[in-house]
């Protein structure tokens, strides 16, 4: 009996020892993956030098500029071929004027493989969208006032457009969780959304290029009329819901 127990123990040790080694080998093969954020207008790259100039025309025919563009993405995930999800749970504030925010390391250790899907949340889901809990976002004044439900902005897109009186006018296309404060009790509607970018093969160290087509925010399915909707859109429930719909097709992976 004693010999049996001894052999079992040795067997177990050998077995676990081998599996640990395999894990180590697996981990050594893992690679880092980052997202490089790119921005375009109808397919044309938006460079830093393109900001502050009225050079774009939206689907409604309004000439406009981009001065600021900041947005939040969170919960980046990879779906393996067996359907399991690799959660790279984090959040990132992208600022088109800050080069250092345009490359996001989503993980420093991912097994090379072909994945069914890479996805992220535009903005914060309700679990994460809690007032004041992220010091870096508080520092960036990314908060939404409590009277509008608190939490954080999802996007701040700002610039100027030529209005119907031919006057340069500022616009503030700010996306948050939709709230209707017109009744006795506020009514909320979720406006975060999941962006599914499709399959991706990770071979070695990868830099995936992710593009936002800014023109899409003004195009599809709602042809945005800046003359009617250019300002004070945070408390505008309907405007927030329209931004939600128009945001569905703004992101795509860029093929090398």
């Amino acid at each position: 009996m004693r010999k049996f127990i001894l052999y079992c123990t040795l067997g177990c040790l050998l077995m676990f020892g081998c599996s640990n080694d395999e894990d180590l080998i697996d981990e050594e093969a893992n690679v880092s993956v980052s997202l490089k954020m790119q921005h375009s207008w109808d397919g044309e790259t938006i460079a830093m030098t393109d900001l502050n100039t009225i050079k774009y025309e939206n689907a409604n025919g309004e000439k406009m500029s981009i001065e600021r563009l900041r947005y939040l993405i969170s919960d980046v995930t990879l779906e393996k071929q067996d359907g399991t999800i690799v959660e790279l749970k984090d959040y990132y504030l992208v600022d088109i004027t800050k080069e250092e925010t345009l490359v996001i390391e989503i993980s420093d250790s991912i097994p090379p493989d072909t994945y069914n899907n890479i996805s992220f949340t535009f903005g914060f889901d309700n679990e994460d969208n809690l007032s004041g809990i992220y010091p870096d976002l508080n520092t960036a004044l990314w908060n939404v006032p409590e009277m509008l439900g608190g939490g954080y902005h999802f996007m701040q897109l700002e610039g100027k457009f030529i209005n119907e009186s031919q006057v340069e006018t500022g616009y503030q296309y700010h996306a948050i969780k939709a709230v209707d404060n017109s009744g006795d009790e506020p009514v909320f509607q979720d406006t975060f959304f999941t962006v599914n970018l499709g399959p991706v093969t990770i071979r070695g160290q990868e830099e995936l290029k992710l593009s936002m087509d800014v023109s899409e925010w003004f195009k599809n399915p709602v042809q945005w009329n800046l003359n009617e909707l250019h300002s004070m859109m945070m408390p505008n429930f309907d405007a927030q819901v329209m931004m939600f719909h128009n945001g569905q097709n703004v992101f795509s992976l860029v093929e090398d």
Binding site: L51, N52, E67, R68, S131, G132, P135, D136, N138, T139, L141, N143, P145, E146, M147, L148, E158, G159, K160, V167, E168, T169, G170, Y171, Q172, S231, M232, M233, M234, P235
Partner: protein, 357 residues
Amino acid sequence: MKRIICYIGVLAALACSKDQVEPEEEYVVYEPTPVSLDIPEFFSNAILDPVIPPNNPLTKEGIALGKKLFFDPLLSVDQSISCADCHMPINAFTDKETFSEGVAGAKGTRNSMPLFNLAWNYDERFFWDGSAFGLERQVFHPVTDIKEMGNTWERVVNDLAASKEYPVLFQKAFGEEGIDSIKVSRAIAQFERTLISSNSKFDQSLRGEIELTQEEENGLAVFLDETRGDCFHCHGNPNNPLWTDNIFHNNGLDSAFVDVGLGKVSGDPADNGKFKTPSLRNLAFTAPYMHDGRFETLKEVIDFYSEGLQPSETIDPLMKKVAQGGVQLTENDKQDLIAFLLTLSDQQFIANPDFTP
């Protein structure tokens, strides 16, 4: 302060015969005492850590030296004014002038900026136009500006070296002999980083110690309401104790610019008319307002944002209803907004004995 005394002379004496005893020489090696910035709990919980450059850590002796230099007129060419003449503690480290008076009555063209919570200026761009990168570099400008202290660094260093007190104070602060402009700037920057304002009425209300009045509460609502004041996109919200975004905006003061501000520094015409967003803390002590001190009262400031905006190519998109002159606040909302803004003033800060000579 650790004081390590090496009695070289004694050792020499022991090694020599009685006839050859040399006089004792005392070499004193000072080691500055590291100190941590006394960060208010709300600051450390709510926002990112302050910026302390690795090459200028805070020390007890460095801060003390910086404070002494800050209040010492020796830095000016005729020894008539100190930093504190334009940055008075009682005025939250600014003064009451539209443009401060330098040596020989010279006047600048920008309003003296108040000094507090400077360690949380993450981009480290100082002055109204962001022309100084880093608090240490900021110190260099006023000493040699002919409209401020009008001095030369050579003269400053010579005067400090010739004084009875400073050589040993510098040695204690930096652990080595010698005085130079870099050490002066580092010491003053250390002192300035300790100027923390965190005990206004509003801070106390956040801690649950007192309650705001109904007018002050409504003023906060105006401040945070995008359809009324919409002040929060640039000046922050109760989740951030700084009350500034510390970046640069054209807030619609002028259609044509006498002073282009950031545009002159960056060389980019898109930056013309942009100036740094000042903190709203301590407004009770910091009038007049704006980069050129054009507004004497908070009422004038609020009237400007309500009805006085001027269009220009670089006006910030966040400035709303420019064609109507501004956000068109009611008189009641204006009064309440001012009442709220005044809750951000910190009496304890301006009376703090650590910050006065």
